[in-house]
Subunit: 279 residues, 2 copies
């Protein structure tokens, strides 16, 4: 919905958090929506769906170094509300964040739900995806591809699907990193696509060393792992000489804008088929 | 979803706003969701749907005397996104509130959308529905039943449907009233049902004089008008001797809890069939 994202003040729609000043505090706000058949499988355990809905929103705050203050839920009643509630409570407890309110509705067709997370910035300026500087190093907090393997296990009904069903937002890591980074975002839609977005927003190129990207998969799935989302690792850039407070993997360098926002071993990536999951 | 509304910290779910302290400011947060076939007619002009989505959320803030700071949209793409955007921009302009961000998703089946509104309290304590005191007078800001007539006009394809399609949240009135009221809420689900909720939250009874309730309908539709929602008038209680800054209609008295939270001309109302729209 291009028109909407172009709306004045809505530049962050779909991809990012809103940052507003309230008195002496800086608030970070995000809203993510999920719908059956698109963001979760029909028949998937509603407790896992609730867990993920909380996690994706907390992950957005984490990338801003924001401490969660509370959440508002918009929930279409479905077939497994008790399971949803159980997973919701588990996640709220895990991230130590209260549910402040929201709305439940009856609905028809695919079950849809949304969550708004409100956080307090712990460091200003709040990191954006637009701050990467030529000469910075690029990092990722951990391996990608785990959620992909989990998704395949869930679909096949065998193997460990936890990484897909129960991803964990890196809240503490995001808060620890934010004073040190020049740009940061969570990898929700795949490393390469999100790197493309970060580089585009920063008007630079990320030159990624393919072999340095940590993967949770066998080597023959490396290309898939870099394109699959849902891992919620943090992608960030920082001056090359900064000592990081969190273990992270160096995956490349920030260079002046080249033929593409992302070079992978020097090869310019273009178009969606090269990048990852767009939704 | 009883379990969810009983969640610690989620006492306000479905019906009210969340109130949180941020530094020296008090924020009021609300989230309302709408789904095709439930909250709007399939095929209804998407611009009207967007207008209403903004209005219902602003109306929740108005009942708290909160000045809107911004909104986050969760939007499932549909058949008329351009019209939705047009109505959204119209409403944001009308209420002078920015769209800060949100999420758009693909979806299947009934189109569903949610909006989070963030407001700053203009007066503390923020009015709740739980503060009505025995001896207070009960008021409504204006006539009920206009949206019902508008809905009927829209369904029949003739007559003026604007009151249903384009309700207006009483933002300025809510802000002006909030220092003077003991309890306040917007009438979104029908005067009698919302009076029942206010009285229940306040542990009092509202003794309503049926003939004093202002209605936008012919007299023979009075009972329907008091049970239909979507008018977004404000229902409030205030000490009987308070001079109100806004024109309002005296509709009854707050008395000690009687046989029902609402007496209508002395008749105790019970159960949903007596009250209004539950959704």
């Amino acid at each position: 919905m291009r028109g909407l994202a172009d709306h004045p003040g809505a530049r962050n729609l779909n991809d990012d958090c809103a940052v507003i000043e309230i008195g002496s505090e800086t608030l970070v706000l995000t809203h993510d929506m999920m719908s059956e058949g698109i963001h979760f499988l029909a028949g998937q355990d509603a407790a896992d769906v609730a867990w993920k809905l909380v996690t994706v929103n907390i992950s957005d705050l984490a990338a801003k170094g924001a401490k969660p203050v509370g959440m508002l839920l918009g929930y279409m009643l479905g077939a497994n509300d008790a399971r949803f509630l159980s997973g919701l409570e588990e996640a709220l407890h895990h991230y130590d964040v209260p549910l402040l309110g929201g709305d439940t509705i009856a609905g028809q067709g695919a079950q849809t739900m949304g969550l708004t997370a409100i956080g307090k910035a712990t460091h200003c300026p709040v990191p954006s995806r637009g701050g990467a500087q030529v000469g910075d190093s690029a990092y990722v907090t951990g391996p990608v591809g785990a959620a992909m393997l989990g998704f395949e296990a869930l679909k096949q009904g065998k193997g460990d699907s936890a990484a897909y069903r129960r991803p964990v937002a890196l809240m503490k890591e995001g808060i620890a990193l934010c004073p040190h980074v020049t740009a940061m975002m969570d990898i929700s839609d795949g490393l390469l696509l999100d790197a493309f977005r970060l580089a585009t927003a920063s008007n630079v190129t990320l030159a990624i060393d393919r072999g340095d990207v940590p993967i949770a998969t066998p080597e023959n799935r490396r290309d898939d792992a870099m394109r699959w989302g849902d891992d919620y690792q943090l992608l960030f850039t920082a001056p090359a000489d900064v000592a990081l407070p969190v273990t992270a993997h160096h995956i490349g360098q920030v260079i002046a804008r080249s033929s593409s926002p992302v070079l992978l071993d020097g090869y310019a990536l273009r178009g969606t088929q090269d990048l990852g999951y767009q939704h």
